[in-house]
Amino acid sequence: MADALRVETLRLAGVRKSYGTGTPVEVEVLHGIDLTLQRGEFTALIGPSGSGKTTLLNLIGLLDKPTAGQLFVAGQEASALGEMEATRLRGRAIGFIFQYHYLLPAFTALENVMMPMLAARGRADAKMRDIAAGLLARVGLTPWRDHKASDISGGQQQRVAIARALAMTPVLVLADEPSGNLDTENADAVFDLMRDVNETSGTTFLIVTHDPRLARRCDRIVELVDGRIAADRPNTADRGGERRHTQAGALPT
């Protein structure tokens, strides 16, 4: 029953990535990655520096194309798409949260959240404004909605970034060190918020982190070493029985 309802948000099959292809300095960074994320999974991607985490995240985020292998996002073969279709799919299906929040400083918090909708549809309307206001309320920033992004604190900025990532109701949110730039308290708040979104909306999260404390709070931990998946395990550590761990069985090796 549970298997039948299972929906793949993301599937990588034998994905490889080389840089400097066709030159004497060709370097392969990813050596055949197989990875599947089911809908609603909350996964940590860990690994030492230089292990290829960023490269992998760029491929999954459709910011780059694999040299070989296949990449499916929301059932669509993204590795076969042209630049324009890839951009459209990225806007529709994937939300990004970056380490340094990267809001557009010239815009207010509300406008930043509206931006993905505006970029997709081209024209501002009242509905976008309502959706953005709702998302800001959800991350607890209603009082700051009309403040310039550059005028609010780091923790608040990162919450705006989460709201922005959710604007297009993506199936997958990619977070690159989402709390790496925050103090413990704010880091926890941001993490809790993502967890909350994951549980209430069923949005799939893939979180790159160096912080073992945060990784331990995810449902599943994928470890990347030297461009290969070295470990992929459900995380049962301190999460006890309160979480579901339905994905464990479906993992490829």
């Binding site: 990267y102 010239a106 024209r123």
Partner: protein, 408 residues
């Protein structure tokens, strides 16, 4: 449909506001460039229009004369007897052959807006002891004013001359001490004299014309010059004075007549004008280039400064074409606002010029025409230059690799 609600314009204007100093500086630069172009063009156009108007005041754009008479020494078919020297014939006053037919032919040419026969020749105006040589011009009252705006130049009396009337210039009136209603005696080379009453006095703003030209009725001139029923020339007005030479050529091709255009007869003026136009065009090109380079350099810097933001916009699904347009809009806007301020600047300077540049007697040195189309063209041109200048930076922005931009 508010264009300011478009993604592209929202982002473009916010980017420009963020770099307000840069934006203001370049807009100021564009304004100066456009201001100079508009000011110079208005001045040049005013100067040309003034000279053209002054010349065409008393000269028809096209004048048709009887063909020149040439000496044809008689030759005997078989025997070789060639005159060693042939003296060119002196040109006597003659009528155009069948001028009525020529006139109807010419009136049929499109772009011709006035045709009138004229009988003109030399004569002497005498009053008491004073004698002045004049050019007697016999005009057909029904059609002459379609070609030459004599009525507008009348400063006293009237222009529609009767058989015994004459209209003279202000200088001649001064020289002979004449007023409306006074009589003078006109004598021509043909030895015919007539006493005429001064019906009107004109001022063409040209001393030569004011001194020499005298106008009488066509019939009167025909009698005085012994050219009864004839017309020594046909004067033609065309819609575009600058097309006069082209039309003159067409007439020349169809008739065995001498056809002069004012472009030919004022060749020096036209070459001076051509030089001015060339100089003005060069200035326009270089100012345009400077404006383009200025806008391009501001936008290149902006693309570098904003590469992270562009990367984020791209990552959140913004199409390349949208990023491209964000920067094209900025270029176009900088060009347009610059040109608007430049128009204001030029307008102010032109008004100032109008007030300051005057002849010693207080009349304007020349009337500067402030043509609204000039401002419109400048604004459109500057917008286009701005957009073109933005192409390179905009393409660079659109091609930014979001993965690199975000991390870089």
């Amino acid at each position: 449909m508010n264009p300011l609600a478009l993604f592209e314009s929202i982002v473009a204007f916010r980017f420009m506001r963020e770099g307000l100093t840069q934006t203001l500086l370049i807009v100021f630069g564009v304004a100066l460039g456009c201001g100079v172009i508009i000011f110079m063009s208005a001045l040049l156009a005013g100067m040309q229009a003034n000279i053209v108007r002054r010349t065409l005041n008393f000269q028809a754009p096209i004048q048709i004369l009887a063909p020149e008479q040439v000496a044809r020494p008689l030759r005997d078919g078989g025997r070789e007897s060639v005159a060693a020297q042939v003296q060119p014939r002196s040109q006597q006053l003659r009528s155009i052959d069948q001028w009525q037919k020529v006139r109807t032919d010419i009136a049929r040419i499109p772009d011709v807006i006035g045709v009138t026969p004229v009988v003109s020749g030399p004569g002497f105006a005498r009053r008491g002891e004073a004698t002045k040589s004049v050019t007697l011009i016999g005009i057909e009252i029904e059609t002459y004013f379609d070609v030459i705006a004599l009525p507008e130049k009348i400063i006293a009396g009237r222009h529609d001359v009767g058989p015994l009337d004459i209209v003279i210039g202000i200088e001649l009136a001064k020289d002979l001490g004449m007023a409306i209603g006074d009589k003078l005696t006109l004598t021509t080379a043909a030895g015919i004299a007539s006493t005429l009453t001064v019906a009107g006095i004109f001022d063409f703003g040209n001393k030569g014309a004011n001194q020499r030209n005298v106008y009488v009725a066509l019939r009167t001139a025909q009698n005085l010059l012994d050219l009864v029923g004839g017309a020594s020339s046909i004067e033609v007005k065309v819609r575009d004075p600058f097309a006069a030479e082209k039309i003159a050529q067409d007439i020349r091709a169809g008739h065995d007549l001498e056809v002069d255009s004012w472009i030919k007869t004022n060749a020096q003026f036209f070459s001076a004008m051509a030089a001015q136009i060339l100089a003005n065009t060069l200035i326009r090109i270089f100012v345009g280039l400077t404006v383009a380079l200025g806008i391009a350099s501001v936008l290149v810097v902006s693309v570098v400064q904003k590469s992270k933001e562009i990367g984020i916009l791209r990552a959140m699904g913004t199409a390349r074409a949208r990023v491209l347009r964000v920067f094209l809009i900025q270029g176009g806007f900088m060009g347009l606002t610059g040109a608007l301020f430049g128009s204001l600047l030029a307008w102010g300077f032109l008004l100032l010029w109008r007030g300051v540049a005057r002849n010693p007697d207080g009349t304007p040195l020349f009337i500067v025409i402030i043509e609204p189309s000039l401002f419109a063209i400048a604004c459109a041109g500057a917008t286009l230059v701005g957009i073109l200048a933005a192409v390179v930076p905009a393409r660079r922005a659109a091609r930014l690799d979001p993965a690199v931009a975000i991390r870089g």
